[in-house]
Amino acid sequence: MANAPLNYTPVETNDTLQLSGDRIGDRIFLKIEELSGEKVFRCMQCGSCSAGCPMHDRMDIAPNQIWKLLQMGEHEKVKNSESIWACLSCFTCGVRCPKGIDLAKVMEAVRQLLVRKRLDRVDGNKIPKEILEEVPQIALISCLRKQSG
Amino acid sequence: MAKLKLGMYWAATCGGCDVSVLDTHERLLKIVEAADIYFWPIAMDFKYKDVEAMEDGFLDVCLFNGAIRNSENEHLAKLLRKKSKVMVAYGACAAFGGIPALANFTTREKILEKAYKTTVSTDNPQGVYPQPSTKMPEGEITIPEFYNHVYKLSDIVPVEYTIPGCPPPADLLMTAVEAIVTGKLPPAGSTIAGEKTLCDECPLEKSEKPVINDIKRPFQVIPDGKKCLLEQGLICMGPATRSGCGAACIKVNMPCRGCFGPAKDIKDQGAKMLSALASIVKFDDEQKADQIINSMVDATGTLYRFGGANAILSPRRTEGEKP
C-alpha cells in the first residue's frame, strides 16, 4: 500500500487497551495485593501520589496510572514500565494519599515479581569500579536490594 | 386440733439450717407446742428403718435442708417425700444447691483428687479413693455414692414450699410454722420470703443513677456504712436476690451474697445480676468497661454462689469434658 510522503516523523501511536474480566483481579493481581499488603481498588484516582512524586519525570507511567492499570488488569504494562524501577520508596505518595494506601509497596511488589524471576534491573558485577569506590556503602546495598534479586 | 407431725432432715449441708431452728430461742416452745417431731437426726436418735416403717404421708411436714450430693441424700429425699404430705426445701442448699453446688463448676475427679491427694495435709501414698463398695473379709460394705453433680431438692422430688436463706432466719421459720398451724398456707410452689428484692429492705443510700467505676472485693474496702455497697464497687447481689432476711449481711457491712435466691419471676439469679451489673458499669468507654469487667475475680462463683444447681444451664466444666 502506498502512502503519501510526510514531511514530519510520525509519533508512535497509542494502542487500545483490550480489557478483559479474566485479567481484572486475577492471580497476578492477587499476588501483587498480597505482596504489597495494599488494596488496589481503594485508589480513587485523585492523583496526589503523582503530584508529589519526585521521580515522576523519570517515569513512563505516572504513579496514579499504575494503580489504574492494575485495577484494569494490565499488569504486564506495569511490569514492563520504567516507573517501577524509578520509584525510590521515598513514601511521599503514601503520606499524602487520602485513602492511606502506599504505592511504594505496590511498586516493590511488582519489582519483586520480576527479580524473583531473575529479571534484575542492575547487575552488581557490572557496576564500574570508580562508582564502587565513590559512592557510600548504603547506596550500593540499597541499589542492589531494590533492583536485583 | 391434732398436733402436727414434723420431720427434719439434713442432706449435703453444713448443719447451719438445723441450728437455725434453735435460733427461734424461746419461740421453739411454740413449735413444740404445735408439733411433734418424728424425725430429726441431728437432735434425736432415729434410724432409717423408723422412717421406713412410717405409713406413706405420715408426716404432715418435712423440712428438708441440704443439697443432693450422693446416693444417700437422694434415697432419703425420695423416702421422706413418700412419707410426707408437705415437703419444704429448707435453706439455700435444698432450694438452689447452695454452697455445695459450687462443686458443679468443677468435676468429681478434681474434687476427689484435691481431697484425697493434693491438699497439704493429705497422706495417701497409694492414692486410694473411697469406693462405693469394698470387699472386706467380713463381706462387702458400701458407702453412699458421691455424685458428679449437686442437685437441689426439687430436681429430685416435688417440693411444695421453699424457705430460702443460709440459713433461713428464725422469723421466716416462725412465719411458716404459723401458716401451717393456722392452715393459712400460700399456694403450693410458693417461696416463703419477700416478693421484692433485697434493695427494698436495704437501709443504705443509693444515688439517682448508680454507676460503677471499678469492682472491688470485700477485703479491699471498708464500706462507709451509708452508701449503697454496689456503688462502692462491691458486688452486692441485692438487686437480684429475694428479700426477707432484713438485709442482715448489709447491716454488718457485708454485701449480699444472694442466699435467698432469685425473685419470683426470675429464672436465673446469676444471669440477672450479671445483666444488672453490666448495666451500671461505666459504659461510655468500651475499653474502660472491658477493664472493669475483666477485673472481676471468680465471676461465676460470685454470681452463682448459692445458685449452682438453680441456673438455667446446668453447670458443666469446660466443653468436651464428660459430665
Partner: protein, 133 residues
C-alpha cells in the same frame, strides 16, 4: 455434616434491616439461624442467651448497631458489657464462649451480615455439637 442450630437476636434498626438488605440484594447465606427481633440489642437479657443454649442452640448471634451509631444512643454499649461478662462465665457452664458472638452490623451492611452468618455457621460446624445439652 453437622448442622448447628443458631438463634440470631437482631436489633430492629440496624442488623434486622441489614438482613433485609441482604435479602433484597438476593445474597445467599446458610439457613441455620432463626432470627428473633428486638427493638434494641440491649433488650437481649443474658437469661435469653442461656435459655437458648439450654434449649439446644449451638450458637447465639447478637447483632446490633455500630458503636456510636446505636438507634437508642447507648443501648449497644450495654449489650457489649453484658455479652463480655457472659462470655467470661460461659466456660463454667461447659459452653465455649465462641459459641456466643456479638457483631455490629449496620442497615447498610447486608454483605457483612452474610459473611458473619456464614463464618459463624462454619465455625460452629468445626466446633461440632455441644457435648452437654
Amino acid at each position: 455434616m453437622f448442622e448447628p442450630k443458631m438463634i440470631c437476636f437482631y436489633c430492629k434498626w440496624c442488623t434486622y434491616t441489614g438482613a433485609d438488605l441482604a435479602g433484597t440484594s438476593r445474597m445467599k447465606y446458610l439457613p441455620n439461624g432463626v432470627v428473633l427481633k428486638s427493638m434494641c440489642s440491649s433488650r437481649i437479657d443474658p437469661q435469653h442467651i442461656l435459655e437458648a443454649f439450654k434449649k439446644g442452640a449451638d450458637g447465639v448471634l447478637i447483632g446490633g448497631c455500630h458503636y456510636g451509631d446505636c438507634h437508642y444512643v447507648t443501648g449497644n454499649q450495654l449489650t457489649h458489657n453484658r455479652v463480655a461478662m457472659l462470655q467470661k462465665i460461659l466456660p463454667d457452664f461447659g459452653i465455649d464462649p465462641h459459641r456466643l458472638r456479638i457483631e455490629w452490623i449496620s442497615a447498610a451492611e447486608g454483605a457483612k451480615l452474610v459473611k458473619v452468618i456464614n463464618t459463624f455457621t462454619e465455625d460452629l460446624r468445626a466446633m461440632g455439637p455441644r457435648r452437654s445439652k
